[in-house]
Amino acid sequence: MLEIKQLEFRYAGASAPAMHFDLNVDPGEVVSLIGPSGSGKSTLLGLVSGFLAPDSGQILLDGAAIEKLAVPSRPVSIVFQQHNLFPHLDLFTNVALGLDPSLRLTRQQVSEVTAALERLGLEQLQQRKPGELSGGQRQRVALARVLVRKRKILLLDEAFAALGPALRAELIGLVKNLVSENKMVALLVSHQPRDALIASTRTAFICEGRVAALDDTVALLEQSRLPEVRNYLGTL
């Protein structure tokens, strides 16, 4: 279980008040984060992944504080919208880097990489380079790497924004399965309310550096009385 407790952060030199986050994610759950640009969604992911250091507060994974850990030692995997893969390395190597950055793989690890690529339907393509793949396939490779890394927290930063609706739905379904199979916790940032509907039972609405609402996804998207939410969704 991921607990974000009174996490405060303020950009150096910014005049806006400090951001403040409280949020819990249960094992196997994907929580979607929606909200206007600049509201703090990416900041929250940055704090969890360690690219940003909080001014105060805690991030607990299964009760253990992780907010002071260095980026590489955090139990976190991230999928960005782009540049998840190194263009000059083949798929196998791109995934294998997730297991061991020095690429000295044991036989066991080699088969793990192969299995992950198979799980995502990429086994025929492992010698290819990312440039030869479609956008959806590239993100699948990134997910294969998430799989081999076996980290508990998965952050998806508009990971599927560039893909078509059907492909998006398919990949989000895949993420859901991966997360629940492996009892991971996931945060998914998206601008598509439909993504949240597919991915999450619960969705958080982030606004002005706060979790302004955290509710059942359907309830939040369709029945919220908060003017900010309705404004964001264009249903005001």
Partner: protein, 524 residues
């Protein structure tokens, strides 16, 4: 929780070393007042009309030279960028690296062969003065600027070209919306580099300048340190030159815009109108002729010289070995130092601290304008009382040459490294891809081309160096550049032209070796 940026440490060490290597000798020189025969310098020269005249001439000729070199270079680089496929394109680009390594004396002779009284395009006596200075400086710097600007076109993403095509942009609009924004990242830095090269130019100005009217600050420094033996004054003038350059840098770099577009490697053909190709080819031809004429006059002279006699001399081969050793060592050192500086400045840029990032780049580049004569003499003062300087000639010569090469490394490697950092740094962190692994799997494959160009430039520059090596004397074998000078000094002008050809070919070879060896095949 504030963590020290791990890139700050090696960069800090490099900066500290650079600072030490520059400032300690200056301090050492100022401290010389106890020397026999030394009279405390009259430092009120600030009021002298001589210095004021020298100052304004230095700036004026450097300014004009920069304009005359860089503006045409933009057109030529654009022509090269748009015409991706024509015979000898690669060879021409490599040819464009050559003028930089020609020792100034030899280049002056080449320029005179072409534009002198008996030349192919005679200017007559009007060559000597600003005309000659500009002709020679453009010969040196236009090709360099072309080489440094060309990668900016490659940084324009393929889909931007397609977008422009789809929107039916005219050539001018494409320039305005696609090319100029990409160029703006590199242009100020390149202009600053060319400005520094011209400001500190010495033999060209003295020989083609026509007389002491055309005295630059660099000459005044040389005079103070050598003929007047007034180190304090030389130091003050050197600092003046440094401050001037920093002012110019401040203004120039304000114009710099870091690109918001992202770089993708492209190789497709460029959309172009009917006239574009003939126009571009004409530009390339004109630039090639301009650069090629003095070079071919050297070639013709050399083939008239005692080729066999020189090539069969053991002495020549020894000096080739020494030249290679100095060139390659300086390149290695310079590339390593520049690498650490750029890593740090890239991480600062990613964190939004662009001003600090620029400062780091600037600090690495600006050392170029402290004359090697001053650094070298100062180092000498510091070292000679502690160690036997004879054993230190090569380390010192290599170090100073490496320092002088830093601005080239920063120009060549900077944009690509920054881009790479911005794109993959977070991913690398999250994958724990660090240090050697990060270098091996990410940086080397993606950065080897600019790395190769940087190393090649520094090596070639160090191989053609005369200023530093001449200063320390040559206990044993002379480098090729020095041999050329010795031959010129011994009436052996035909021999010197042959040696100059050998140096040119050697530089071409090293360039090819480093650019290909480090950079890989062009299509890789």
């Amino acid at each position: 929780m504030t963590q020290l940026n791990p890139r700050a440490i090696p960069a800090g060490i490099v900066l500290a070393l650079v600072g030490l290597i520059i400032l300690a000798p200056l301090a050492g020189l100022v401290n010389l007042s106890g020397l026999p025969g030394y009279e405390p310098g009259d430092l009120r020269f600030w009021h002298s009309s001589y210095i004021r005249r020298v100052l304004s001439f230095s700036l004026w000729q450097a300014f004009l030279s920069t304009l005359c070199s860089v503006l045409p270079a933009i057109l030529v680089a654009r022509a090269f960028a748009l015409q991706m496929n024509f015979p000898m394109r690669g060879l021409l680009l490599r040819l464009f690296a050559l003028p930089l390594v020609v020792p100034a004396v030899v280049a002056v002779m080449g320029v005179v062969s072409v534009y002198g009284t008996g030349g192919w395009i005679p200017f007559g006596k009007s060559l000597y003065g600003l005309n000659g200075i500009l002709l020679a400086h453009v010969f040196f710097n236009l090709p360099l600027a072309v080489r440094l600007l060309l990668p900016q076109w490659q940084s324009i993403p393929e889909h931007h070209w397609q977008l422009g095509d789809q929107l039916g942009m005219s050539a001018w609009q494409r320039w305005r919306y696609l090319e100029w924004p990409a160029l703006r990242e590199a242009l100020p830095g390149v202009m600053l580099l060319v400005f520094m090269l011209c400001l500190t130019s010495f033999a060209v100005v003295l020989t083609l300048g026509g007389g002491p009217k055309s005295t630059t600050l660099e000459v005044a420094i040389y005079q103070s340190l050598r003929f007047d033996f007034n180190p304090a004054r030389a130091v003050v003038l050197a600092l003046l030159q440094l401050v001037l350059c920093m002012l110019v840098a401040g203004v120039t770099l304000k114009l710099q815009r870091l690109p918001e577009v992202e770089i993708t490697l492209t190789s497709g053909s460029r959309p172009q109108g009917l006239l574009q190709k003939p126009l571009d080819m004409a530009l390339i031809l004109a630039a090639t002729i301009y650069v090629g004429l003095p070079l071919s006059s050297m070639l013709i002279d050399a083939f008239g010289g005692p080729l066999l006699q020189i090539i069969s001399s053991i002495y020549l081969w020894q000096s080739i070995a020494k030249t290679l050793f100095i060139g390659l060592s300086a390149a290695l050192m310079s590339v390593i130092a520049g690498w650490f500086l750029l890593q740090y400045s890239a991480s600062l840029a990613l964190a939004g601290q662009t001003n600090r990032a620029r400062f780091i780049d600037l600090a690495g580049s600006i050392v170029y304008v402290v004359p090697p004569l001053v650094i070298g003499t100062g180092m000498f003062v510091l070292l000679s009382s502690h160690v036997d300087v004879f054993n230190w000639v090569y380390p010192i010569v290599i170090t100073i040459n490496a320092l002088m090469g830093l601005p080239f490394v920063i120009r060549c490697l900077g944009p690509a490294l920054r881009q790479n950092h911005a794109r993959y740094h977070h991913l690398c962190q999250s994958l724990d891809l660090q240090g050697w692994n990060r270098f091996r799997y990410l940086e080397w494959p993606l950065l080897r081309r600019p790395l190769g160009l940087a190393a090649a430039l520094v090596a070639a520059l160090a191989m053609g160096d005369l200023g530093v090596i001449a200063l320390f004397g040559t206990p044993d074998t002379a480098t090729l550049a020095l041999v050329i000078y010795q031959q010129l000094g011994a009436y052996l002008i035909p021999h010197a032209t042959v040696t100059a050809l050998v140096l040119l070919l050697l530089c071409l070879g090293v360039f090819w070796l480093l650019e290909r060896g480090i950079g890989g095949k062009p299509d890789a």
